[in-house]
C-alpha cells in the first residue's frame, strides 16, 4: 500500500464522521469520537505496512517524501490526534455551555461531530506536512492545518476568550501565511525550482546569495509562527489560554512537531549550501537565544497553567531551534540533528499530552485553569497529581524521564558544534524551567485549594474521568518513564 493512502483514509474518516452525523441519527455522539479513535488506531498500524514507491522517479514523489523521518512524524500526528479526540469526549459539557448556539429542537450534543471531524482533517494535514517535499505540497498542507485551526480555536463561539483567541490567531496566522507565500515566491525566484531537491541543487551553485537570503527571512518569520519561536511567538500565550483545551493540546504538539519537520526540510538546502550555511546558522542561533530567554523568563511570572504551558512550549521551541542551528557541524555527536529534533519532539509530545489531559480534567471539574485550581490536587486526586508530577518532571528534564534525554541530545549537539553562547542561555533556561515547573508541583502537594466560598475544594468532581482518557494517561505516563530508561528504542525508529 503506498504511503499516501494513509492521508486519504484519514480524510475519508473525517468525512465519514460528518456523514454519519448528518444522515444517521446518532444518539450519543461520543460514539463518533470512538469511531475516529478506532480508525486512527488502524491507520497507525497501517503505518508499518506501507510499501516503497514502485516508481520513485515519477512526478508524484517529488511532492511526497517517504523517509523514516516522515513516518516518525506521521506517527506523532496520529497519536496526538487520538489523545485529542479522547480529550474531546470529556469536553462535551463545556461545548454545550459555550459552543455554537443550539436551537431548542436540536440534539443537545449538536456541534460535537464537527469537533471530531476537524481534528481528523487536521491530522491528515499534519501527516501530509511530514511528507511535504515540494513548495506546493508544503504550502497546501500547512494551510490545511492553519485554516482548520482557525475554526477550532474559535470553536467556543459564546465564550469571549475563545473568540478573542480565534481572532488573534486568525490575523497573525494569515499574516504568517502572507509572509510564507512571499518567501516561497522569492525562493522560487532565487532558484528556479519548486521541489526541495532542485532548490538544494540551485543553492549549492548559486553565486548571488541575496535573493535566497531575502526569501529566507520571510520563510523563517512565517515558520517561527507555526512552531512558536521568536520573532513571531507572541500569539502563543493568548491563543493557548483562550482556545478549548483539546485544541490547545493539538496546537502545542501537532502544530509544533509538523511545523518543525517542514522547517527542517526547508532549511536543509540552505544549510547544505557553503555560501549560505554560516549566515543561516547565525540567524538560527539568534532565534534560539531570543526564544529561550523570552519563553523561560516570561513563564516565571505566570499564574495561569494554560499560559504557563504556552510559555513552556515557546521555551521548548527554543531548544529545538538550537538543535537545528547546530545542524551542519555536528562532528562527533552521536545523533544527527534531524534525529535530535525528532526525538525531542516525540518526548515533548508525550509529556505535553499528559499535561493537557490532566489540565483538561482539572479545569473542567474546577471551572478554571489558574494555579489555584491545582492547589491541593494531591489530596483530591492522588492519581491526577502523580501524573502531573511526572509530566512536569519530564518537561523540566529530570533524569530518567524522557524529557531529560531530549535536552541531553540538544546540549550534546550544541557542544559539538561549538555554539557556546546559545548553549549557556539554554542551560540557564533549563534551570529557570525547574523553578516554574516545580512551583506547580509544590502547589499540588503542599497547598490547599479554596473554592469561591472559601472552603477547600473537594474530590467529588474529579472522579469522572472517561475510560479512554484514563487508559491514555496511564500509557503516556508509562512512556515517560519507559523511554526515560530506554531512549534507544525511539532512536531505533528513526534509523
Amino acid at each position: 500500500m503506498p504511503a499516501y493512502y494513509l492521508e486519504i483514509i484519514v480524510v475519508l474518516l473525517g468525512l465519514a464522521v460528518l456523514t454519519f452525523d448528518a444522515v444517521g441519527r446518532v444518539e450519543d455522539k461520543r460514539s463518533l469520537a470512538g469511531l475516529g479513535v478506532l480508525g486512527l488506531i488502524v491507520v497507525f498500524f497501517l503505518l508499518f505496512k506501507t510499501s516503497k514507491p514502485a516508481d520513485p522517479g515519477s512526478v508524484f514523489w517529488k511532492f511526497y517524501a517517504t523517509d523514516a523521518l516522515a513516518f516518525f512524524f506521521k506517527g506523532i500526528a496520529i497519536l496526538t490526534t487520538i489523545v485529542v479526540l479522547l480529550m474531546a469526549n470529556d469536553f462535551i459539557p463545556v461545548l454545550q455551555r459555550f459552543g455554537p448556539p443550539v436551537e431548542a429542537k436540536a440534539h443537545p450534543q449538536s456541534g460535537f461531530a464537527e469537533f471530531v471531524a476537524l481534528p481528523l482533517f487536521l491530522c491528515a494535514g499534519l501527516m501530509w506536512m511530514a511528507s511535504a517535499n515540494h513548495l506546493v505540497s508544503i504550502f497546501v498542507s500547512l494551510e490545511l492545518v492553519t485554516v482548520t485551526f482557525y475554526v477550532l480555536v474559535a470553536y467556543l463561539r459564546r465564550h469571549e476568550l475563545s473568540l478573542e483567541a480565534g481572532v488573534k490567531y486568525l490575523i497573525l496566522g494569515a499574516l504568517s501565511t502572507g509572509l510564507l507565500v512571499y518567501g516561497l515566491a522569492w525562493l522560487y525566484g532565487a532558484t528556479g525550482a519548486l521541489d526541495l531537491s532542485g532548490i538544494e541543487g540551485a543553492l549549492a551553485t548559486t553565486e548571488n546569495p541575496l535573493p535566497a537570503l531575502f526569501a529566507l527571512a520571510f520563510i523563517l518569520a512565517a515558520m517561527a509562527f507555526k512552531v512558536g519561536a521568536l520573532p513571531t511567538a507572541f500569539w502563543i500565550p493568548d491563543v493557548y489560554q483562550g482556545a478549548p483545551t483539546p485544541v490547545t493540546a493539538l496546537l502545542a504538539v501537532g502544530s509544533k512537531s509538523a511545523g518543525f519537520i517542514v522547517l527542517m526540510r526547508l532549511m536543509t538546502p540552505f544549510l547544505k549550501s557553503e555560501l549560505l550555511s554560516g549566515k543561516v546558522v547565525a540567524v538560527l542561533a539568534i532565534m534560539a537565544v531570543a526564544t529561550l530567554l523570552y519563553g523561560n523568563f516570561a513563564a516565571l511570572l505566570q499564574s495561569n497553567v494554560k499560559r504557563l504551558l504556552g510559555y513552556s512550549s515557546i521555551s521548548h521551541a527554543g531548544f529545538l531551534v538550537l538543535a537545528l542551528a547546530s545542524a551542519p557541524s555536528h562532528g562527533g555527536a552521536l545523533e544527527t540533528p534531524a534525529t535530535t529534533v525528532a526525538f525531542y519532539l516525540a518526548s515533548y509530545a508525550i509529556t505535553a499530552l499528559l499535561a493537557f489531559l490532566v489540565l483538561s480534567i482539572v479545569s473542567a471539574a474546577r471551572h478554571g485553569d489558574d494555579l489555584n485550581s491545582f492547589r491541593g490536587l494531591a489530596k483530591a486526586s492522588p492519581f491526577l497529581a502523580l501524573l502531573m508530577l511526572l509530566s512536569m518532571a519530564s518537561m523540566a528534564g529530570v533524569p530518567l524521564t524522557i524529557g531529560f534525554w531530549g535536552k541531553f541530545f540538544v546540549f550534546q549537539q550544541a557542544v559539538f558544534s561549538r555554539l557556546w553562547l546559545p548553549l549557556g542561555v539554554a542551560v540557564i533556561g533549563a534551570a529557570a524551567g525547574f523553578y516554574y515547573y516545580f512551583r506547580l508541583i509544590f502547589s499540588m502537594y503542599l497547598e490547599t485549594a479554596t473554592g469561591a466560598d472559601g472552603n477547600p475544594l473537594g474530590k467529588d468532581t474529579l472522579t469522572k474521568i472517561g475510560a479512554g482518557s484514563r487508559i491514555a494517561m496511564i500509557l503516556l505516563a508509562l512512556a515517560i518513564i519507559g523511554f526515560g530508561f530506554f531512549p534507544g528504542s525511539i532512536l531505533a525508529l528513526l534509523r
Binding site: L135, E164, W186
Partner: protein, 107 residues
C-alpha cells in the same frame, strides 16, 4: 519584447509593503483582512513574474509556479470564508470590529 523582470518585482514588492503596513497600522479588522489578501496577491504577482523569467526554451512560462499560484488563490478563498465567519461571530458578541477591543487576554 522582454523589458526585464524588475518592474514586476518592484510593483509586487510595493503591493506587499502596502499590505503589510496596513496589517500593522489599521484598526478595523475587515481592513486588516483585506490587507492580508493584498499580501497574498503580491506573492502571486511575484510568482508569475518569476515563472515568465524562467521560461522554457519554447518560451512558455514555467507552469510549476502557476500551480502554486492556483493553490494560493484557493487557500486565500478558504481563509477569507473562515476568517469572515469568525469576524462576524466577534461582531455579534462585541458589536465592534475594532482590533483594540480584542484585549481581554493579557500578559
Amino acid at each position: 519584447m522582454n523589458q526585464g523582470i524588475e518592474p514586476y518585482l518592484l510593483v509586487s514588492g510595493i503591493l506587499f509593503a502596502i499590505g503589510f503596513a496596513g496589517v500593522v497600522l489599521r484598526r478595523n479588522i475587515i481592513v486588516i483582512f483585506m490587507c492580508l489578501e493584498m499580501m497574498l496577491s503580491a506573492a502571486n504577482l511575484t510568482l508569475v513574474a518569476f515563472s515568465r523569467h524562467y521560461a522554457t526554451p519554447l518560451s512558455t512560462p514555467d507552469y510549476q509556479a502557476h500551480v502554486l499560484l492556483f493553490f494560493i488563490i484557493t487557500v486565500a478563498a478558504a481563509e477569507v470564508a473562515v476568517g469572515l465567519a469568525i469576524i462576524v461571530a466577534l461582531f455579534r458578541t462585541r458589536r465592534s470590529i475594532d482590533s483594540d477591543s480584542v484585549s481581554a487576554l493579557k500578559f
